[in-house]
């Protein structure tokens, strides 16, 4: 493991030198040959390409296009380094596997800030270089050692305006009240957000959610289990609502506006009690493009234009307050940290989740299955 890491670093260094013209092609290939372990990556052209591009590991779908136009274009214009994508979804387990195997093929992961806490502690991530990346262009507490929040998404719920005509639900307390508001519900299957929602419904103040009282939250979740179904992906959450499977459903907050438009306003999003999630860019240890280029990329993604681009393209709220200030009055209700929303939303604590994901997710699965 250690020597693999060393070989990889040697070859990556050489790749930089090769690209910069400090080393000729033959010596570079000879070095790759000597490094041995790097042979497959040389064959795949990776080590050679390493010095010449940044690979962003995201979730596919629209995000490839959006990240490309909002961050990729200005980044390439500024540095000359092209941006490529791996759209297979950087789940924690996949990042860990990639780093452990010594064959790192991604430079920047579109992950969660709690991933930075969990994987940073186990040595799987490069630390963020705050000489290049700005701590001021994110929310307080969201610039951590191994990750910085670039955008915010979150959890909110939507309800069927026809099912609750006269007295629509306005809070998580209403969401969990099946007597007053009958009908099917949907919650996120992997605990995140669902636990916070349950606690708020049970009367916990939005800024006193952490550390999460698991027993209390799960009791609340179990109480409405018979009228709840659980989703595992954003598209599933979307389908449950537009197909009329639920009368109230939790969704990714940044997708709520699309659903409102798609259903001609039949389903409406409630921002009261929405839980803002810090989406973070994190860099796997030993990334092929080099830490420096990855940091530069993250810095570009903090710029006002990039942030506004992501907001209009993906609905994800900027973390840079300067960008938030430029959001129009019409769009502001859908920006989770707009001035009006800040008073009613809860902010996710990445440290708690980074340290307790395993216990929370498994307890949640046990409670709902």
């Amino acid at each position: 493991m250690q020597d693999k890491q060393f070989m990889r670093e040697t070859v990556t260094e050489a790749a930089h030198a090769f690209r910069a013209g400090r080393m000729d092609r033959r010596s570079f290939l000879a070095l790759c040959g000597m490094a041995g372990v790097a042979l497959p990556s040389v064959l795949a052209g990776r080590a050679e390409a390493a010095a010449g591009e940044i690979v962003m590991w995201n979730w596919g779908g629209q995000s490839e296009e959006c990240h490309g136009s909002a961050i990729g274009s200005p980044f390439t214009a500024e540095t000359g380094i092209p941006l490529k994508f791996d759209t297979s979804g950087p789940l924690q387990g996949k990042i860990k596997e990639m780093v452990d195997s010594g064959n790192v093929t991604a430079d920047v992961c579109d992950g969660d800030l709690f991933d930075a806490v969990a994987l940073g502690a186990t040595g799987h991530l490069e630390p963020i270089d705050y000489a290049v990346v700005s701590k001021d262009k994110t929310l307080p507490g969201y610039a951590l050692e191994h990750g910085v929040s670039i955008i915010l998404y979150g959890y909110a719920f939507m309800y069927d305006t026809e099912a609750y005509k006269d007295a629509p639900p306005t809070s998580w307390a209403d969401f969990f009240d099946t007597a007053k508001f009958p009908g099917q519900r949907s919650l996120y299957k992997w605990a995140n957000g669902s636990l916070e929602a349950a606690l708020m419904a049970d009367g916990v103040a939005k800024d006193a959610l952490y550390p999460i009282d698991l027993d209390r939250a799960l009791a609340k979740v179990k109480a409405i289990k018979d009228s709840t179904i659980y989703w595992g992906s954003g598209s599933e959450a979307h389908d449950m609502i537009v197909n009329g499977e639920v009368s109230m459903g939790m969704v990714w907050q940044n997708r709520g506006r699309n659903i409102e438009q798609e259903t001609n306003g039949r389903y409406k999003m409630v921002m009261n009690g929405a839980i803002a999630m810090p989406g973070a860019y994190i860099v796997p240890k030993g990334n092929p493009g080099g830490r420096e280029a990855a940091m530069k990329f993250i810095a570009v993604s903090q710029s006002v234009d990039a942030q506004l681009g992501l907001f209009s393209c993906l609905g994800m709220t900027p973390t840079n307050s300067e960008a938030v200030a430029k959001i129009s009055a019409e769009d502001a209700p859908y920006a989770i940290t707009s001035e009006a929303n800040m008073a009613v939303i809860a902010l996710n604590d990445p440290t708690w989740w980074g340290q307790n994901t395993d216990a929370a997710v498994n307890a949640f699965l046990e409670a709902i299955s």
């Binding site: 969990a118 179904i229 046990e366």
Partner: protein, 281 residues
Amino acid sequence: MTRTARFNPGWYLVAPLLVLVAVMFAGPLANILWLSFTDPEPGLTNYAALIEKDSLRRLVWTTVHICLITTALSVILGYSIAYAMANVAEVARQRMMLFILISFWISVLVRTFSWMMLLGRKGLVNNGLIELGLISEPIPFVRNELGVLIGMVHYMIPYAVLPILVAMLGIDGRVLQASRNLGASPAQTFWRVYLPLTKPGIIAGALLVFILSLGFYVTPAIMGGGKVLMIAEYISVQVLITLKWGTAAMLAMLMLGSVLGLLYVLSRFMKLSEALGGGRT
């Protein structure tokens, strides 16, 4: 001397494949076995959890219970389909076979979503029944255990039909005539002659269905609405989200062990090649 003479040079042709299998399959498998005993700490903790933790016991039980029901239903339905196919004219049989194969080839994801459209709360079936005034509230066909069973049985039926059909086609019709001739009623002939003769097909079909059901992931995840948690999905969560690789490896080993165990049990009753190849030739 004789040994060298008997060595079949054909092995040279097979050797690359064997090496490939050893490296690409046995290697990672050994790695998983190793993980199951060493992550997070060396010892038997992961396996002990299987006995100590209610949640894991329940997980295993849910999986076995769903697989058993799926197997029983698939074999019963598959048996009647195979029976029909074995007793129609050749042309009709080929047509039926085509339908079986078509459903066999459709991806599990497509089928799952089709079922959701048909049986969902606002699906074709529920809407139809409501329009007809037969029901007032939609019937919860999916997003529960029933949904998982519908999806899985539908997927598994071809796997039950094929081996059973082969066994049925191998039966000499004169045996049945002899049975009737000797005074047995049609029911007696079925229960005492026909059914025992198709037993190898039934066992092979049931085993195949059970083994494949154990690893089901997509159907329970979507049609269960999150409430039916089976081992395959749990393993994926432990690998990707909670990073409990030791637990995941232990469960993977448990599944592999059960499958090998089942195959061993089967081998005690019949030749494996016969069971999995579907009857004698």
